[in-house]
């Protein structure tokens, strides 16, 4: 019986099929999977998917469309109309708003279909305050050391993540702060520093760190950033923002999708309950 759990296939199969695995490693991998049913099955599964995909029509993704440039007169009219609407809108808000305008909490607002889902905002004290905060998952996110061939790991990052692995956030923060912003691991260092701050309860600093990563655009950390920003929002008793961030995180369909989806169901239930409580529903507890 083999004791292999498929790690060689996970590490090599894709590159082997793509033809990017160095010949010597390809031969070594062949010698392995010829004797290892687990890795052979892994390889066969990818090949089966590849063969089926070959029969599928090419996926046509909608390119990121730029709106067609308006002709000059139309542009002038459009700008004028927008300005007029803005003036009317501002006047309307000042005239009709019962309370001063609340500060925007939506610093992260990439337009996705997920955002169209209802995300009621509520900044008044929630009846179920404890529950919202209890939902927050402020545990340190797991770190998997990268397995990059020939790529050296920056010493400060390595030291920081070693401390992080031990749960020593103070030492981790100190070492990660020394990672050069030019280093490949800089963004990861930033993310795990924010995670440490979140874990220590410094939510403002954690959120600032995570927002900074998010503002840099799409990255491998994006999903985790959104997920943990949602946790911070929950810890701050802001389920509406948490819901919105969780939807963004789910939309990325990454490792945290399932977790975010489960949590979002709970957050939505909470929001609905609060809404009922706020409208004086007799069923609300």
């Amino acid at each position: 019986m083999t004791t292999c759990i498929g790690t060689p296939a996970e590490e090599n199969a894709l590159a082997y099929i793509e033809g990017t695995l160095p010949e010597i490693e390809a031969e070594r991998f062949e010698e392995h999977y010829f004797e290892c049913p687990v890795c052979l099955a892994y390889l066969q599964a990818i090949q089966a998917v590849g063969q089926e995909l070959a029969h599928e029509p090419a996926v046509r993704l909608e390119p990121v469309r730029r709106k067609p440039a308006l002709a000059w007169p139309a542009l002038v009219w459009a700008l004028g109309a927008a300005a007029a609407l803005l003036v009317i809108g501002v006047a309307g808000i000042r005239f009709f708003a019962p309370h001063p305008a609340q500060p925007s909490q939506a610093q992260l607002a990439p337009a996705t279909p997920a955002q169209t889902a209802p995300a009621p905002k509520s900044t008044r004290p929630l009846p179920a305050q404890q529950t919202a905060m209890e939902l927050a998952d402020l545990a340190l996110p797991a770190f998997e050391a990268p397995n990059l061939r020939g790529a050296g790991v920056e010493a400060n990052f390595e030291e920081g993540m070693s401390a992080y692995g031990r749960g020593d956030c103070q030492a981790a923060l100190s070492a990660l702060a020394r990672v050069s912003p030019q280093d490949l691991a800089a963004r990861q260092a930033q993310f795990f520093s924010a995670a440490c701050r979140m874990h220590k309860g410094d939510l403002a600093a954690a959120a600032a760190g995570l927002h900074k990563i998010a503002d840099e655009g799409d990255s491998p950390e994006q999903e985790s950033v959104l997920y943990y920003l949602a946790q911070i929002a929950l810890a701050r008793n802001d389920p509406a923002t948490a819901h919105r961030l969780l939807l963004h995180s789910i939309a990325l369909k990454g490792d945290l999708e399932r977790r975010a989806r489960v949590e979002d169901q709970k957050v939505l239930a909470l929001i609905n309950r609060d809404r009922e409580a706020g409208t004086g529903s007799p069923d609300a507890k």
Partner: protein, 209 residues
């Protein structure tokens, strides 16, 4: 025969090596049932190898027959010196067959005799497994997110690198790499049936159930 003058030490060999020794010795001594066992054992492995190397299913199928015939004929002739190295022997033949094909050599399997008494190489269990994999692969594809599907298609079918895919899909190359790895892992789990054993762990899409 096998060339192992003192006889192989079966008791010390690992199960795979022991099976290799058994097959090599049995085929060398004219055991036709062992040839069938040999085919059952190596057909899927050699097919996977040829497909990976050639990226051409039809060619892989053609060459597969050559590799198996050549291997069995060589074993019948006792050309394998160390019976425990059967796997390396088959791999070497497969590489030779493939290389000869690419060199354009007008080659025939080395034996040239094409004996009539070869085992049925269209092994039923292997075909059944391949069919099951195919069905699962089709299912896995239908539930893939369009972007993940595009990334896998461009990778596995078109053979494009993440940088090029990133340009085509207007994504960050890191994002392409990440999504490719995740999507691969998911479809492999799905096809291998592991996801069925782990309740609720096979959601491939972002669709709300």
């Amino acid at each position: 025969m096998s060339g192992e003058q003192n006889g192989p030490d079966l008791s010390l060999a690992e199960p795979e090596a022991r099976e290799s020794i058994r097959l090599a010795l049995a085929i060398g001594s004219g055991d036709r049932a062992a040839e069938r066992d040999f085919a059952l054992r190596y057909l899927p492995r050699v097919r996977a190898m040829l497909l990976a190397r050639s990226r051409n299913a039809d060619l892989a199928s053609d060459l597969l027959q050559d590799v198996m015939i050549e291997s069995i004929c060589a074993l019948r002739r006792g050309q394998l010196r160390e019976a425990s190295k059967l796997t390396a022997f088959v791999l070497a033949i497969a590489r030779n067959v493939l290389n000869s094909h690419y060199r354009g050599a007008a080659r025939q399997p080395e034996s040239l005799e094409f004996p009539d008494d070869l085992p049925d190489l269209a092994s039923a269990p292997d075909r059944m497994e391949a069919e099951q994999r195919k069905t699962m692969a089709m299912k896995a594809i239908t539930v893939l997110d369009p972007t993940d599907k595009a990334i896998l298609q461009l990778t596995l079918v078109e053979g494009l690198k993440p940088g090029i895919i990133a340009q085509k899909l207007r994504l960050n190359p890191d994002v392409v790499r990440q999504r490719k790895l995740r999507a691969t892992r998911r479809v492999v789990e799905f096809v291998s049936g592991q996801s069925q054993n782990a309740p609720g762990s096979h959601s491939l899409t972002g669709k709300v159930p």
